[in-house]
Amino acid sequence: MDQALLLLLDAANYVLVIVLVAMGLVIVFGLMRVINMAHGELFLLGAYTLVMLQQAGVSYWVGLVAAPLLVGGVGLLMEELVIRHIYHRFLDTILATWGLSIIIKQGVILLFGPGAQSTTAPFTAQLDLLGSSYPAYRLFIMGVALFVVAGTFYLFFRTRFGLAARAVIANRDTAACLGLSTRAFDRATFAYGAALAGLAGAVMAPIMSVDPQMGLGFLIPAFLSILVGGAGHLGGPVLGAGLIGATDSVTASLWSPVLAQVVVFTMAVIAIRIFPTGILGGGRK
């Protein structure tokens, strides 16, 4: 029984981490139809913001607040300088954001070098859970992920901003006629997605290698989650992450990480075959 609960705990941890990383990607892809290939690099920037501040002697908590603000600012710049010119050219957004991702990654290599940087978690305590030790910091990560999901759902479904945002998605022209500034909405949404990537980077930095390649690792499961869950609804990727993350974690626990990847990709292929637009549907046509 304890074994099964530990299995669930590991799976929940991984699912929430994917959700945390995927949320920004989903908002930008699902609401703006921009496949942001630079999302992993925004994640990277979040982690390096934390590294920079920690090396300057600033506390972890300041870094945690600064990372989403700074990366959100970078997102705003990206939107203003590049993305807004190519909203209607779907394939070009992939190319443009990919180019941006290379610029950011190489910029980080130039500034910090190719090596891994050290970061320290704000607390290193281990809790005794079900007779097995569990790092308290992982519970903190799960808390942050839950907070981000809840906050995002609240923002889009319970506030005036969310109402306006959904109006713009549903019918851009009508929303504009009714006096909503669609430009402001685009800007805010992209910056919010980028800020979430930055937050995820700062949160994950203490438990992974902080190096210029770090953005890639979570990007693939995050994209898979969106494909499986569907991009039309905010709940889609959460569901997708649940399926992908739990399958991966449970298979890795019971058998091996190699088999886990095979199973996850097979499952994703089957899911996409049955639900071409994702389980919850693709939304906007």
Partner: protein, 395 residues
Amino acid sequence: MNKVSRRRLLASGAAAAAAAAGAGALPGLATRVLAADPIRVGAVLPFSGGLELFGNQAKLGLDLAMKEINDAGGILGRPLEILYEDNKTDPKTSVEKARTLIGRDGAVALTGPILSSSRDAMAATVNRSKVPLLYATNYEGGACSRYIFSFNTVPNQELAKLLPYMHETFGGSTYMFGADYVWPQQMFEAAKGIIGQQVGGEVAGVEFTPWGVKEFAPVIRRIADSGAKVLLFALPGGDGITFIKQAEAFGLFDKVTVAFLGFAETYLGAFGPGGGQNMWVTVPFVASGAQPGVTDFVARIRAQAGEEVPISHYVMTHYNAINALRDALQRKGEVGPEAVVDGLEGLTVSTPTGPVSIGSADHHVTLPMFLAKTEGSGLVTVEDLGRIAPEAGCS
């Protein structure tokens, strides 16, 4: 000022064009007949794409060897020039760069790369062009050809003393965990043999992980539950750092001690103060070693590259490879790819850690090895293991 430099530029451009025309008429030959022409060695190394740290370490050693050789008057009166090419940590690019270095630049030998996949990809090119590859990274063994020389260790040299020592000191069984590609798989095969026959210990489990996995909680839990006392670890790069960080947070190292294969001191900066301690390795070079040759070598590298730079065995093995090339050419008294091969066979080179002998048949090296563990920001030697001969896996 501007005019002069522009004129110079034009003049040198014209000269280059003339040289190119000459090279076009006599491909490959034009660069080799002039006596004062430098002896060119091509270095195909990763300076981007993920393994930059290793590429940069190799370059430290190569740069120092080139500088020292040229300061001492070159080889047979000719200066040595090392041409660096970035293989982007990619096998296909490695082959393209190797072809360029041999065909366009007339390199008498190549050195690099780091990954086995890149080396295997380049093997066909060096065999066909009959230009030797001086490989200086520890690997799984079995790369045997007239045109391939290995200046670092093969599995038995890394494992034969490490595994018995770990078993005696920490007892219990051994768990093996590494990346899912040829080097860890071959290393673990060799390790299983040594543990079964020599040590009489038990293997608690063998497990591989695909590249790019960022979440190791299930694996960490399995290792902790296996009851193993020793973790034989072969997961290079960022994934390895991620694993160690997560395992440390889970308190795994209270239960098991890590024997780290493919370790480089460059990793230690990533774990933060107090992290990544007490990890055990056998390596051909420990920068904190007390031998005069080592302290002198470290001082020379630091004078060139700064006080802060970590110095791993990759620095020394690449340095050794170039010095061996010099000795080989001087031994033969002529310059050319065949002279490098003939000169290297059976050669003994003096290195910072002592004499290193190149096998005349297997082209692998017998070299001094050290048992060491991580402490602070580097390695400390625990035991001088003496010279260990390679089991190169050449049939």
